[in-house]
C-alpha cells in the first residue's frame, strides 16, 4: 500500500513538472512578439519605439535566451511571483486571475453540482421503470446531444431577446461598479442565471443516463438478488444499488470539478461573462505569456488534485480496485 502511494506521488510530481513545462512552452511557441504587439497600441516615433522596446523586453525578460526565461518562470512560480500582464499592462497576473475566478466558480460549481445531484436522482429513478425510463431516457439523450453553442444562442434568444426576461450578456449591469451592495448583487444574480441554466441543462443528460445504466447493472447484480432473496423491499434494494453505483459517478464529478478552474470558454464567450474562460481568450489574442501561464498553473493543479483524490477514494473505498492495483504493480 505504501509503495503504491509512493509511486503515485512520484508520477503526479512528474506529471506536474511536464505539464508546467508544456504550458510554459505553448505560449512561447506562438509566432509573434508580445512586446511588439503591446507597443503597437501606441503611436510612437521610431526612436521612442526603439528605446521603449528595449526597456520593455528587459523588464519582461523576453530578450533573455529561452532557457533562462524557463528558469525564471520556475523561480517565479515557486516564489508566488507570477509576473505582470502584457494585455492589462500594469496589473499583476495574480490580481487578474483572482478577479475573474469568483465569476467562473460561482457559475460552474453550482451548475455542475446541481446537475450531478438532479441528474443522478432522475437516472436512478428511471432505471428499470418502464414509464419513467421511456420518458427520461429520450429527453436525456436529446440534452446530451445538444451542441452547447446552440443552447447558448437559443435560450438567450427565447428568454432574452423575444421575452425580455433575462439579460443576454455581461456579468453585471454595465452602469454599475462592483461593490458589496444589494443593487450590485441582484444585478449579478440576474446576469448569472442564463449562463448557469445553459451549463446546467447541457450537463444534466450525461449524469442521468450514466446513473441509469449503472443502477441497472447493480440491480442485476448478485448482491441485489441476494437482498431480494432475503425478502428486502424493492426500495431498500434500490438504495443499495444507488450507493454502489455512485462511485464511478463521483469520480466523474471530481474530474468535472477539477477542470472548473479553467472556466468554460464557450459559455463565457457566448455570454461575455467576465470569468477565467474569457481571460484565457483575451490572453491568447494578446499573446499574454504570463497571464496564460498563470491560469494554466491553476488548471494543472486542479486536474492533478482531482485525479489524486479519485485514486485515493477508489483504493480506500473499493477493495476490488485495491486488489487489481496491487496485481498490476507486481
Amino acid at each position: 500500500m505504501r509503495r503504491y502511494f509512493a509511486r503515485k506521488v512520484l508520477t503526479y510530481a512528474l506529471a506536474f513538472f511536464v505539464g508546467v513545462t508544456i504550458d510554459w512552452a505553448i505560449p512561447h511557441l506562438m509566432p509573434g512578439d508580445p512586446v511588439q504587439l503591446y507597443l503597437s497600441n501606441f503611436n510612437l516615433k521610431p526612436a521612442g519605439y526603439e528605446a521603449l522596446y528595449k526597456t520593455m523586453s528587459q523588464a519582461f525578460g523576453t530578450n533573455l535566451p529561452l532557457w533562462e526565461q524557463y528558469l525564471h518562470y520556475w523561480k517565479g512560480l515557486l516564489t508566488g511571483n507570477w509576473g505582470i500582464s502584457f494585455w492589462d499592462f500594469p496589473a499583476p497576473v495574480s490580481t487578474l486571475i483572482f478577479q475573474a475566478l469568483p465569476y467562473t466558480l460561482a457559475l460552474l460549481v453550482p451548475a455542475i453540482v446541481l446537475s450531478y445531484i438532479i441528474g443522478n436522482r432522475l437516472g436512478a429513478a428511471a432505471a428499470r421503470r418502464k414509464v419513467l425510463d421511456n420518458s427520461v431516457l429520450p429527453v436525456g439523450y436529446v440534452f446530451q446531444a445538444i451542441p452547447y453553442p446552440w443552447l447558448a444562442l437559443a435560450l438567450p434568444f427565447l428568454l432574452g431577446v423575444v421575452w425580455h426576461v433575462f439579460p443576454i450578456s455581461g456579468g453585471y449591469d454595465r452602469g454599475l461598479i462592483p461593490a458589496f451592495s444589494w443593487t450590485f448583487i441582484s444585478s449579478l444574480l440576474y446576469h448569472w442565471f442564463l449562463p448557469f441554466l445553459t451549463v446546467f441543462l447541457v450537463s444534466l443528460g450525461g449524469w442521468a443516463i450514466g446513473m441509469r445504466n449503472l443502477v441497472i447493472y447493480e440491480l442485476e447484480n448478485d448482491s441485489s438478488r441476494y437482498l431480494r432473496a432475503l425478502g428486502a423491499r424493492e426500495r431498500v434494494v434500490r438504495r443499495y444499488a444507488y450507493r454502489s453505483a455512485s462511485l464511478p459517478q463521483l469520480s466523474g464529478l471530481a474530474l468535472a470539478l477539477g477542470v472548473v478552474v479553467g472556466g468554460s470558454i464557450v459559455t463565457e464567450y457566448a455570454f461575455s461573462y467576465p470569468g477565467i474562460g474569457r481571460l484565457i481568450f483575451q490572453a491568447i489574442s494578446n499573446q499574454d505569456y504570463f497571464l496564460l501561464q498563470g491560469i494554466f498553473i491553476f488548471i494543472i493543479i486542479g486536474v492533478l488534485v482531482a485525479n489524486f483524490i479519485i485514486d485515493i477514494v477508489y483504493v480506500t473505498v473499493d477493495p476490488r480496485t485495491r486488489l487489481s492495483m496491487q496485481g498490476a504493480s507486481s
Binding site: G19, P147, I284
Partner: protein, 308 residues
C-alpha cells in the same frame, strides 16, 4: 483539460455503465443472435433510421438544393418557398450552407472518432496488458494530455497553418480526446487479463500482441464498437464548439461555422432566428440518433440490459 476542450462541460461519454462483464468466448451462432436482437430492438431501429435520414440529407442535399452555396441573393431573407431556410447577411442561401455543413460535420466526426479510437485503444491495450512501469508512464501521458489546454494548442498550431482544413480539425479532435478511451480500454484489459482463457493462451506460448488481438480484443469488441459510435458523436459536438469560437475549418462551411457567423453579425439581437436555429437542431438530431442507436446496441450486446 477538458474544460477548454469541451468548453461547455465536455459531453460526458458513458458507455453502458461500468465495465460490462466481458462475454464468454462466443459460440458460432452468436452473430445471428445479435442481428436478431438488433432488428427487434426499437431503439436501434429508430436511431439508425433517423441517422440514415440525416446521412441521406448530407449526401443528396446539395443535389436537391435549388441554389448554390456561393451564389448571392437578397440578404437576411426569412425562410420562403424560394429560400427554404432563408439567407444570411451576405445573401447566401442558408439551406445550401446547412446541407454542406452536414457533410463537413460528418467528416470531422468520422476522422476524430477514428484517430481517437486508434490512439486510445493502442495505449489502453499496452498499458492494461503490460502493466507495471509502462502502465505508469502511459497513465502519466494520459494525465498530461488531459491537462494541455486543447483550445490554446489549437490556436497556436493554427497560427502556423495557412488554412485549417477539415482533416486538420478532425485529427486535432481525435488526438486530444483519446484519454478516456485509453482509460476505459486499460481498465477492461485489466479485468480480462486474469481470465482463464488468457492464461491458457499465455501457456501455449503466444506472443503478447497476438493474445491482445486474438483473445482480449474480441471479447470487448462490442464495447469497442460502442466507444467508436460515442466518439463519433462527441467529435461532432466538439467541432461545433471550436467552430463557434471561430477556430473551425477556414475552408468550407460547417454547422458550427454558421452559428459563429450568426453571432458575429448579431443575428440574435436582430431576430434572424432562421440563421442560428436550424444548424443546432440538425446537429442535435444527428448526435441524438447516434446515442439512441448506441444504447439500443448496448442492450443487444449485453443481455443484462435488455428489458424484461
Amino acid at each position: 483539460m477538458s474544460a477548454l476542450k469541451g468548453s461547455s462541460p465536455a459531453p460526458v461519454a458513458v458507455v453502458g455503465g461500468p465495465a460490462p462483464e466481458p462475454a464468454a468466448p462466443a459460440p458460432p451462432r452468436r452473430r445471428g443472435e445479435f442481428l436478431y436482437y438488433a432488428l427487434h430492438n426499437s431503439k436501434v431501429i429508430f436511431g439508425l433510421s433517423l441517422e440514415l435520414v440525416f446521412v441521406l440529407a448530407a449526401i443528396f442535399g446539395p443535389i436537391i438544393s435549388p441554389h448554390n452555396m456561393t451564389d448571392f441573393f437578397a440578404s437576411n431573407q426569412p425562410p420562403s418557398g424560394q429560400h427554404w431556410l432563408g439567407t444570411d447577411n451576405l445573401g447566401h442561401d442558408l439551406f445550401a450552407e446547412v446541407v454542406n455543413g452536414l457533410q463537413v460535420s460528418y467528416m470531422v466526426g468520422a476522422i476524430g472518432a477514428v484517430c481517437a479510437a486508434f490512439v486510445g485503444m493502442a495505449l489502453g491495450f499496452a498499458a492494461g496488458w503490460r502493466g507495471g512501469l509502462l502502465d505508469e508512464v502511459l497513465q502519466m501521458i494520459t494525465n498530461i494530455v488531459v491537462m494541455i489546454p486543447a483550445l490554446v494548442l489549437l490556436i497556436v498550431i493554427g497560427a502556423y497553418l495557412k488554412t485549417r482544413g477539415i482533416l486538420f480539425e478532425g485529427a486535432f479532435i481525435g488526438l486530444t480526446t483519446w484519454p478516456w478511451v485509453a482509460r476505459a480500454v486499460r481498465a477492461q484489459t485489466f479485468t480480462l487479463k486474469s481470465r482463464e482463457f488468457v492464461d491458457l493462451a499465455r501457456l501455449s506460448g503466444k506472443r503478447g500482441i497476438s493474445i491482445v488481438v486474438r483473445e482480449i480484443a474480441p471479447n470487448m469488441a462490442s464495447y469497442l464498437f460502442l466507444v467508436v459510435i460515442l466518439l463519433f458523436g462527441t467529435s461532432m459536438l466538439l467541432a461545433a464548439n471550436f467552430d463557434f469560437l471561430g477556430l473551425g475549418p477556414t475552408t468550407g462551411t460547417s454547422l458550427g461555422n454558421i452559428m459563429n457567423q450568426s453571432t458575429l453579425w448579431s443575428a440574435l439581437q436582430l431576430h434572424y432566428w432562421w440563421w442560428f436555429l436550424p444548424p443546432g437542431i440538425l446537429l442535435t438530431g444527428m448526435v441524438a440518433a447516434l446515442l439512441i442507436a448506441n444504447v439500443g446496441l448496448d442492450e443487444v450486446f449485453n443481455p443484462k440490459l435488455r428489458e424484461q
